[in-house]
Structures are given as C-alpha cells and as structure tokens.
Amino acid sequence: MAENTIIHFNHVSKQFDGETILRDISFEIERGKFYTLLGPSGCGKTTILRLIAGFLEPSGGTIEFDGHSVNKLPPNKRQVNTVFQDYALFPHLNVFENVAFGLRINKLPNKEIATRVKEALHFVNLDGYENREIADLSGGQKQRVAIARAIVNRPQVLLLDEPLSALDLKLRTAMQSELRQLQRRLGITFIFVTHDQEEALAMSDEIFVLNKGKIEQSGSPRSIYDEPINRFVADFIGESNIIPGNMVRDRVVSFAGKVFDCVDQGFDENEAVEIVIRPEDLELKQRGEGLLQVRVESQLFRGVHYEIIGKDKDGNAWMIHSTKSTKLGEEIGLFFEPEAIHVMRHGESEEDFDRRLESYEGVCHV
C-alpha cells in the first residue's frame, strides 16, 4: 500500500436484500487527488460513496481510512464530508447557520465559527450571503453553500454525489472548472460521483469506471479514453467505433476485410479481438483515397462538427466526426494513423491489461 493512501477498499462487497450491489471491490485512494467514480445508474457508485461516508456498512471485506478499519465507525465520527445530490441544506437555517452547523456541533468558540464560515463562503465565492435564507438561493448558490458547509470542517476527503446533475449545462460547465480549482487550492481528496463521462474526463486525476458492481477500469482520463479495456468502457466514455477484428501478429491487425498496422501487441496469433477507433481520429478523404471506403448513410450537424455515419463493404458502421460535410450516399475514403487503432482483448482483466500495455509501452499506466 502506498504511503500516500488515505482510503483503502479491501475486497469490499455489499448486498441489499439478497441483491449484490458491489462484488469484491478493491482500490486505493491517495491524498490530494481528484477521483471520479463513473458509471451508469445502478452500477454501485453511490453505494461506494455511502460506504466511505459511513451510511452503509460493507457486507464483506474491509474499508481502511488512514490505515485503520472504519467498517464500524458511524458517519459522525469520520473525517469525511459529503456534498449531497439534492444538497440537503437545512431549510430552517440561513446560509451562515448551515455552514456553521458542523462547527457548532464541535462546540467551537463563536468567534472562530464566524471567521471560518466567512472564509468558507469566500472560498466558494459567496461573500456576503451569510443572512440569506436557503429558499431564496438559486441552484448554483445552493451548490456552493453545500460545498462550503462541507469544507468548513476541513475534512480529509470530500465526497460529492452527482452534485452538478441538477444544474443547467452552462452552469455545470462553469462549476466543473471551479470544483477542480477548489480541489487544487484545498489540497484535499475529492471523490466525485457522476454518470456524465464528459464531467469525469474534464475534472479527474483518476477515474474509476464502474459497471454492475465492479470496477471495469481505473486510470487517468487520458489513458481510459485512449486505451479502454473493453467494449463497455469504450462505449461509455466518448463515442467509439467498435469493430470485430483479428490480430494477425504483433502490431498488425485485420478488420473490415483489410490488414492494418497498429501499435498493440501481446496477443495470440490470429486471436479474435475488437478494435476501437474514435470518430475524431477518422479523417475524410476523396473517394478511392485513404485506407477504407465507406458510403455515407447519415449526417448530423452537431455544432462543433458533423457526425457522419458511413457503412463499409462488410456492413460495419463507422461514425466520423469532421468539420467537413459530405453528401448522403456519397462514397468517401477514410484515413487513420496506426496510433488511432486500439485493440481490445475479449474478457481481459484489468491487471492483465495493464501488464500487457506496460510490456511494450514501457510506461506505467496509472
């Protein structure tokens, strides 16, 4: 276990009424980093958060905080604070008293409470909001009060349960960078739960992609985006073209009836694989040029780019993101670099995946 580890999940499982929510989950959380638990609803991400906060007890395994098991420790004794999805601001207290709640519980002197509340409100850009009633605040302001109420207690870890989901797009984007900056300034660990992959990519140092109570893949946003471990991750994070293929030998893969150079290795010869190419890595070419020929089936204008769907001779659908437009039914060529191809092995575990990547890239994937 790394020295910097603050939370350690050791083979943790959780069942509710005979239904398994988490199955044998192990991971470590380090101090001072921004983590995101990402997955579709029902994947167990909120359960993990509630286990850390202490609202739930694991059915199996141990959760360690700072090297000590906290399985039995109630939430009011833990050095973590939560920003709830619905903010859960106390409606009978004003902004000041909401933020002061934890400090009053700890019986701090009034003077210190006043300074720390002021400081916390300043941190979230709500100077002068002390006497406002909760009902008079906008969604974004409530959000900030909820964050101030949590960080004023100087927790070691801040848990955020989909706190941006109730905000409109513009505010959400603004809050994303604000949260990221806040985490850097405070230097404490943030564990952020979301089902929004863009949010996860934009904010995190490290992402855990969860599905059906298991961690599918963990790593930096870049490594998860560029090298998804399987179809689920590739599909869930960003847009992907996932095409069945065959590994001819190291660094050579065949799909769509052709053979291509790639940068992946460590597979068996002629192993059936799936390849991923991101739509933005596909370059539009004139008919007859490029590596693949497709016929344009549909085109949508997405603002930043056109989303073009083309079909190749084998019937594989290819999504292309391009600033250039095409015509329906037109034959076009597609070009992509060998680095754009990512090869996935069926049913590979995360350890094997990491080991294989390390073997030829010589860099550690964290």
């Binding site: 609202f55 939430p75 709830f84 859960a88 601001l89 106390f90 519980i105 949590a150």
Partner: protein, 267 residues
C-alpha cells in the same frame, strides 16, 4: 363566467358558515350582555374577573397545558417509531381506531378500569402497594384526557416526519452530529409544523373539556367547560355561561395566533 360559477358553488358553504358558525357566535355574544333577569348589563364581564372565575380559568388553562404536554411527550416518540416500522398502515389504523369509539363509552371503560375495585387497583393491591384513590383525581383526569387526545397528536407529527427528507438527517450525521444533536437541531425543528398543529388539536379542545371532569375527575377538576355547562343547564344563567364562552373563544383565537407565529419555536 367561471368566476360566477365558483361563487355559486360557494353558496352552500357560506350558508353553513352563516347558520352554524357566525350566527351562534353572534348569539353567544348577544346573550353575554344580559343578566339572569334578562336586563342588559356588562355585569357578567365584571363577574368573570372575580377570583372564583379567574381560578376556574387558571385551572382550565393549566390542565390543558398539562394534557398537551404529556400528549406531546408520548405522541412524538410514538410517531417517530411509527415512521420506522414495517407495517405502518396497520399501526396507523390501530392508533386511529379508538377515535371511532364514542368518548362516553371510553370514559365509562376507564371508570371500570380505574375504580376502587377496577383492574388498576387490583394490580396495586396484588403488588402490595394497596388500593389507592385513582378515579376522581386530577391525575385520572389528565391520564384519561391524554389517552383520548394521543391519536390527534400522533397523526400530524407522523405526517410531518414522513415528509421529512431523509437526506437532512444524513447531512446532519455527516457533519458530525450525534443522534440527539440531529434530533434537536434538524429533525425536531423541521417537524415543528406537525407539532404545532398537534398541539392546537389538543390544547383547544382540552380547554373546554366538561364531560370528563364529571365522569373521571368527579367534579374535583372544574374547568371553564364545566362552568358553561352548569350555567346553561343547572343555574339557567345563560348570560354568564355565554360570557365564559366568549372568553374561551378569545383564548382559542389567541392560541391559534400564537401558534401561527412560531410560539413553539421559543418554547
């Protein structure tokens, strides 16, 4: 057009209010200005401020306070427990059920239970304490009244507890509050509305209890309700009876106004 229609619908309600609320109130006020011989006077109002009636009023109010206090003391934890039970609807029904039985029947049942040779005294005798005078005391009056009022206190409190967002409780725990601190700082203040309506539903009727004072308290407890009954039915001094009723109504209005202004908040 639709506004006119709405007004038409209001007519039965207005008639009802006029006949059974406004008119009786007017008559009470009217009668309160006549003495026993039928002469117009404000003597009744002056008489109300003599020690005998003031004592009655004080006794009424303090008994109503006691009854409300003990009802709340029992009803709040009961309502809280109720929100945590599995078969809530069944339990709720069991609590509501006794209110369907006539008050008189329940009073007579208590006479049987609390009497000299009743179940309570039999148990006391068996335990070696010996038979006590339970019936016809202030204690029995408060005890039976509390029993009668408990469902009316539980229901509004239960409703407000049910409406309470559990994430407030989670948030309080998360911020380090113990169970007691969570209750005192979050759960109770947020269910105050239920407590208020419960207290109103108990305190106001408790002010004018009169049947129980005779059946259970054996006229040892004299409330304003008893006094009104005596004046109308026994002494035939309708004027004085009406005057007491006026003060009772004023007290009720006062309670409602105070409750509406967060009286319980400071309490």
């Amino acid at each position: 057009m639709s506004k006119k229609l709405n007004n038409t619908y209001l007519i039965p309600y207005l008639l009802w209010i006029g006949l059974f609320v406004v008119a009786p109130l007017g008559m009470i006020l009217y009668y309160s200005f006549f003495d026993i011989e039928g002469h117009f006077s404000i003597g009744n109002y002056i008489r109300f401020f003599t020690p005998i009636y003031l004592k009655m009023a004080a006794s009424s109010i303090s008994y109503a306070f006691l009854i409300t206090f003990f009802t709340l003391l029992i009803a709040y934890p009961a309502a809280y427990l109720l929100t945590r039970l599995k078969n809530r609807q069944l339990w709720l029904l069991l609590i509501i059920l006794p209110t369907w039985i006539n008050v008189l029947l329940k009073a007579y049942a208590f006479i049987g239970l609390l009497g000299t040779y009743g179940l309570a005294n039999t148990l006391l005798a068996l335990s070696g304490i010996g038979r006590q005078q339970i019936l016809f005391t202030g204690f029995s009056f408060v005890f039976v009244s509390v029993y009668l009022f408990i469902p009316f206190m539980i229901l509004p409190i239960y409703n407000s507890l049910e409406k309470l967002n559990t994430s407030y409780v989670d948030a309080a725990y998360d911020l380090g509050a113990s169970s007691w601190a969570t209750f005192r700082r979050v759960i109770f203040p947020l269910t105050l509305e239920g407590v208020k309506s419960g207290c109103q539903a108990v305190f106001i009727p408790a002010l004018s209890l009169f049947m129980l004072t005779r059946l259970i308290a054996g006229n040892r407890v004299i409330t304003l309700g008893t006094a009104i009954e005596e004046h109308f039915l026994v002494t035939q001094d309708w004027g004085m009876g009406a005057t007491i009723a006026v003060f009772l109504i004023l007290a009720m209005v006062l309670v409602m106004v105070l409750m509406g202004r967060g009286w319980v908040k400071r309490w």
